[in-house]
Symmetry: C2
Subunit: 522 residues, 2 copies
């Protein structure tokens, strides 16, 4: 049945002109290249208005492709948003959340016990059904214990790390993060893979670039359709760049990292052109969450005109840069106002491969091909969660906040500020404010900065509430939360002795196993 | 001598390929078209990152021309910035300021006694020397008493109004603002030229568009080089649009106005193409000051990632959208990081005409042609004044604030907020805070939102201070302020009986003359 459905979808794509013939004359599905940035903000690209305009390659990508101005991640934090991308499902469904405290952001630090459940079907697993070879370059962040390894979840190759490049650690209280090639560790950050925190120098983006170029060349030579998930992290603090880029940006070190990424994207797209596979490669560029304003200005980016940043469910935390490029297929120079989600990359990729999404579970991602190829607009809600709490929803131009919160007064007074320089009374609150009965509603077209809630007494408010309420009710009534994966921490599960450590002589001894409830302060 | 200098500059422009031959075979200087917006913000165009992306014609203008990301007005308010544009001089020199109270923004309401002094040389006066025919369409705002009439200051034609389109008034305590054709009033706003404040409907942009198209056609037919100053005001509250545009924007009424302007700019550029004069017409698009956030979200625009808006000397008040378009002369798709000023349009226009700026006075505007034609970068300061007070200066990437102020606590507590949703501690102050000894310094590349002052103790701070101090000292020591024009108000000088009122039967009787000090609250 699945094969029949795939064949039918293929005929559809052929009719739409979206499939090409391979050299053998048989139709070959397009290669899929997802370029996922880390903590890059909506306002960080020239084409999104960054004043220094230092991203000529990404700006060109947009000019040759389609830019989304209303594209969202699924969570304002890295791990859950990446889990959502690869499963097409909200973190509340795929388990990437916590119930330890209400509305807390949780992710996968080294001590996390959980990770991506085996029951979840990941994009590379499914793409195998259409003959794809898949590689992840960079940050996995879906759990680091052996059962969560990306090669156990559909990827054929991996070069990168299971966690963030925080450190350096002393390898006693906390091990340095390992870097893997496929099944085995080949070194650790700050050791075999140096990052100079003082100067910001690291060659990692260059290494990740070479991994991408090499993979593309090999798959092209082998005539395999490929899925490359390029999940690099130079724009996540500690921000880094290689020597030729350090000090070249008008924006400081963060800008240096962006410039190196921009240059790398240019080289990847050029390779696709040189190999003459550009017209058979679907490339999508986006980010995992908004810019980390707590690291600004030296190591954090820009969310443009939007409110707050990473960790929050304001637009600055969840609206992302998003560009799709597929020369000859997607018309050049277009802007789409489609409300898009990082989870749509799952469904859209399956559609490109001629595959149906799994029918045995709820999939939140939409197939965006009608928006991309025919400029269609589909009405759909965007849900903004923090942990187990539905904070807000956007429907059309309207966003309703059911809860507002930035972080606690205690944290804020210690200098942890998710909204530096911004303060919207009653909105950027430091206590968890409930508005579930009468949500704060904003019109994002007139008020993208979420500064002017609609008057509760206005006809507009009542009309919008009447449209949003049933959408939210339906969502909440049908919701079956997944088993929360981010509740339990244990020092013993950290990266003490990843596979391959023996060959390198770099195995460390884990401490006694003491499971504890993870503490998630925000 | 002037003719010799002009001829020499002509030879230079010919060498640079920037001059063309007229049909008669004699070199004809390029037409000059300045499109000046009213209260439009840096972030209001798609190409500057406005999320709704509703300005396809302006975005195309930028793609075909050069975009400036660091372009400034000379004052965060309309009259002084317009006086600066047309004189090439800071308001503190040309008299468009007040000394009634420190650091107060002043402009030209109906009761103002002053206006542009006869001693000032305006751009259209000077362009006559190179054979230009000049027209102003829209808002003059350089004084409304007879001596200040634009046709007494070099313009050959006028269609528009001397003041803002505030109203409607009762013609007893305050007359409605007149609309002039050349020397005479042809009606008043809200009477012959209706603006429906409830619906926002007005045909004014269409009328101003037709005036522009008609003028261009006539001058082209007559083979006159022309200067057209298209100073329209649909984006100034009360914001308006014509019926076909009302309700069409995702951004509400303000966006409707922007869409109509964008459409009009497209029609103007198309006419230039159709008439085959595009390659001999220099077109510059900018705005008089930042978006008026006090009118947001329904009637105010966006300053993108910048701090505060109109009336302030933060970036949101003074950094402007700026696009230059001159097909075949200025390379397409360029971005210039040159620090530019609205006053540069004076000097650049003279340069285009082969004229020297007046040598008997200080001119603040630079000739931007080297930046536009050859991509050169020239170091120069940008001075930010409020009234008689130098509030800040930008040099390179660094901005130093000598005074900070938004508005008084009293006003703020009454709801007048120039920085809605924004609050930078110690920066967006409601008392006039002096920092002349130790200015607050920001790096605008790393921190375009002016959120993170450099540490006073840092080497960077000390180095920058050492560079900025002599520039400011030199400026202040050499400064000879002009006679302040905006100190005295008098109800008797309002637009009671403009020339032509007899023919229309619309002369009103002025009250007794009672000169008073104008009150400038901000």
């Amino acid at each position: 049945m699945a094969a029949v459905a795939a064949a039918m979808r293929w005929r559809l794509l052929l009719v739409m002109g979206a499939a090409v013939l391979g050299t053998s004359g048989t139709p070959q599905p397009p290669n899929i290249l997802l370029l996922l940035m880390d903590d890059m903000g909506w306002g960080d690209l020239g084409v999104y208005g960054e004043p220094s305009r230092e991203t000529p390659n990404l700006d060109r990508m947009a000019a040759e492709g389609m830019l989304f101005s209303n594209f969202y991640t699924a969570n304002p934090l890295c791990s859950p948003s990446r889990a959502a991308l690869l499963t097409g499902r909200l973190p509340i469904r795929n388990g990437f959340y916590t119930t330890n405290a209400q509305a807390r952001n949780a992710y996968t630090p080294q001590e996390i016990v959980g990770g991506i459940p085996d029951t979840e079907l990941l994009l590379p697993e499914l793409l195998k059904g259409a003959g794809y070879v898949s590689k992840i370059v960079g940050k996995w962040h879906l759990g680091h214990r052996p059962r969560f390894h990306p090669l156990k979840h559909g990827f054929d190759e991996w070069f990168g790390s299971p966690n963030c490049h925080f450190g350096p650690y002393d390898n006693r209280a906390r091990p340095n993060i390992p870097v893997y090639r496929d099944w085995e560790m080949v070194g650790r950050f700050y050791e075999e893979f140096p990052i100079n925190q003082k100067t910001g120098e690291a060659n990692l983006t260059q290494i990740y670039l070479q991994e991408a170029l090499d993979f593309i060349k090999r798959q092209q030579a082998a005539q395999h359709p490929f899925f490359l998930y390029w999940a690099i992290d130079a724009t996540h603090a500690p921000v880094y760049a290689s020597k030729p880029f350090l000090g070249t940006s008008q924006r400081g070190r963060y800008g240096d990292a962006v410039r190196e990424i921009d240059d790398s994207v240019g080289k990847i797209l050029n390779l696709l052109r040189d190999l003459k596979v550009a017209e058979n490669t679907f490339v999508f560029f986006t980010s995992d969450n908004g810019a980390a304003l707590i690291s600004a200005p030296k190591e954090g980016g820009s969310n443009g005109p939007f409110l707050c940043g990473k960790q929050t469910t304001f637009e600055g935390g969840m609206r992302e840069p998003a560009i799709v490029w597929w020369p000859g297929r997607i018309p050049a120079g277009q802007v789409s106002h489609q409300l898009g989600s990082i989870m749509d990359l799952f469904t859209t990729s399956l559609s490109l491969a001629g595959l149906e999404p799994p029918g045995d579970r709820v999939i939140d991602g939409l197939d965006l091909l009608p928006a991309m190829l025919q400029g269609q607009l589909m009405e759909r809600p965007i849900f903004y969660y923090r942990g187990n709490t539905l904070m807000a929803v956007t429907l059309g131009q309207y966003k309703a906040h059911f809860w507002t919160w930035t972080n606690s007064w205690e944290e804020f007074r210690q200098g942890v500020d998710f909204c530096p320089g911004q303060n919207v009374s009653g909105v950027t609150t430091h206590t968890q404010e409930e508005h579930t009965k009468l949500p704060l509603i904003f019109h994002l077209g007139r008020d993208p900065g979420e500064r002017y809630p609609l008057s509760f007494a206005s006809t507009e408010y009542l009309n919008v509430l009447g449209r949003i309420t049933p959408v939210v009710q339906q969502h909440q009534e049908a919701l079956v939360p997944g088993q929360p994966q981010l509740n339990v921490c244990n020092q013993a599960v950290m990266n003490w002795a990843p596979p391959g450590c023996e060959k390198l002589g770099k195995c460390l001894t884990p401490p006694e196993s003491v499971p504890v409830k993870c503490s998630w302060p925000h």
